[in-house]
């Protein structure tokens, strides 16, 4: 059996319905467990105090904000090449989840930055890149919403996703270049991986795994909703044809 069998909407719905309960429970356990572990059973950072603990939300959300776009890119490519409807719908379903993750990352970052840097926002390359990513997500979702014909929308958004990915990478480099320009060098950097000791890392890994599972289950769930919506549209169209 080939993997493309899952591109059959019926098969997709059946399989995803079977795995979703497990995924819901697993992601909930991992995220809640990881957060409790991180919030209550790790010491305060000697420099940052307890504010560092927002890392358990911030880093996993940031991770998924980028990976969601990656997943959309892959799904768009599959639609462009193999024209499986489920793939296009999965890309559509992932975008709002990606927006939510980006927003969580930006907001938790601001909450963290206020006590640490004394400012809610700084035009640090990392922060700026996330803001730009957020704009790309907005454009992508807006294009889906603007087009009536679902196949046309799938085609156009796929190409936008491909082109957008190239420009998103370019923007990342441009932003890196830009903030070492006339401005003073990046005095605020938050490179989580480097300054996280093991004792913080284990709950962080737990939360990240939880967020990955949460993303997967949300996308499966939302794709199912999109498939059902398409079915309703198709049934209405069929009724018109019969009349």
């Amino acid at each position: 059996m080939s993997i493309w069998e899952y591109a059959n909407p019926t098969k997709f719905l059946r399989t995803s319905a079977r795995v979703m309960p497990t995924l819901w429970v697993a992601s909930a356990v991992l995220i809640i467990g990881g957060l409790i572990w991180g919030f209550f059973f790790t010491p305060d950072d000697f420099r940052q105090g307890s504010t560092v603990k927002i890392i358990y939300l911030h880093v996993p959300a940031a991770l998924m904000a980028i990976n969601a776009w990656f997943m959309m890119l892959v799904a768009s490519l599959i639609w462009v090449i193999r024209r499986h409807h489920v793939s296009a719908l999965a890309a559509k379903a992932a975008a709002p989840v990606g927006i939510a993750m980006t927003l969580i990352a930006l907001i938790t970052g601001a909450l963290w930055g206020q006590p640490m840097w004394g400012t809610w926002w700084a035009w640090d390359p990392r922060l700026t890149s996330f803001l730009v990513l957020f704009l790309f997500y907005l454009g992508y979702v807006a294009l889906w919403e603007a087009i009536d014909n679902p196949d046309t929308a799938a085609d156009l958004t796929s190409i936008l996703c491909l082109v957008g990915s190239v420009f998103a990478v370019l923007s990342r480099y441009a932003v890196n270049f830009w903030n070492q320009g006339l401005h003073q060098g990046a005095s605020l950097s938050l490179d989580a991986e480097k300054n996280v000791a093991d004792i913080f890392a284990y709950p962080l890994w737990t939360c990240m795994t939880g967020f990955i599972l949460l993303f997967i289950v949300l996308v499966l769930y939302r794709t199912g909703t999109e498939i059902r919506q398409r079915r309703i549209q198709a049934l209405v169209a069929r009724e018109k044809l019969e009349a």
Binding site: L138, G139, A142, L143, S171, F177
Partner: protein, 218 residues
């Protein structure tokens, strides 16, 4: 292809073609800036390269929705798609015509408007050069955006939303080059990156634009 270019230029210059609107918009935006940030010459001089770049970008953006929409409405786009010209070529020519009627005048006007903003003497050459290199990319990316939204109601606003993020790298490198030049720093890296983006855009975007236009025409 040359016939198409000439026709587009002719249409832009004829009455109602909208030639000069982008330029006038550029002027207005630049004049509004001192009203909003205050008349302090030092402040204006610092932000001048960025303001000129942003103004040029917005002027470019505003004229994009006419780029394909007029041909779409009167049916010419269908006819061009059935013509022996490759659609990629048609769109590249349309982008070129857009640049010649919108981008190039902006490039030429930028130094003049730089005077109004108290641009540093060193900056004039760099703002002109960076705009000259960068504006073709703005037109080409904009053509892709116009092809994406051509058949849509309320396409204009959506077009801005889609195109702006794509403009980010061009704006950053272009404005950076102008800013460094005005401050007397080295500009090579920024200019080379800008030229790279423009070259890559001109090479690849006609294909992306033609692909989305074909989808929109069917």
């Amino acid at each position: 292809m040359i016939a198409l270019l000439l026709r587009d230029l002719q249409l832009a210059f004829r009455a109602g073609g909208g030639f000069g609107l982008g330029l006038a918009f550029f002027l207005i935006v630049t004049v509004m800036v001192p009203f909003s940030v205050g008349p302090n010459s030092a402040t204006l001089g610092t932000i001048a390269p960025g303001v000129l770049w942003l103004g040029a970008l917005l002027a470019c953006l505003l004229s994009l929705d006419r780029l394909l929409a007029l041909d779409w409405e009167d049916g010419s786009l269908d006819l061009l798609a059935t013509a022996p010209l490759p659609l990629e070529g048609v769109l590249a020519v349309k982008a070129l015509a857009h640049w010649m009627t919108t981008g190039l005048p902006l490039v030429l006007a930028a130094p003049v408007l730089g005077v109004l903003l108290n641009l540093a003497p060193d900056g004039f050459a760099w703002i002109t050069l960076s705009l000259l290199i960068g504006t073709p990319a703005l037109s080409m990316i904009g053509t892709f955006g116009a092809a994406l939204t051509v058949g849509l109601r309320r396409g204009g606003l959506l077009l801005s939303l889609l195109v702006m993020p794509l403009y980010v790298p061009t704006l950053i490198f272009g404005a950076e080059a102008a800013r460094r030049g005005a401050a007397g720093f080295a500009t090579e890296t920024a200019l080379l990156m800008l030229a790279g983006i423009t070259a890559g855009t001109l090479a690849c975007m006609p294909f992306a634009a033609a692909a989305v236009l074909r989808v929109n025409l069917r």
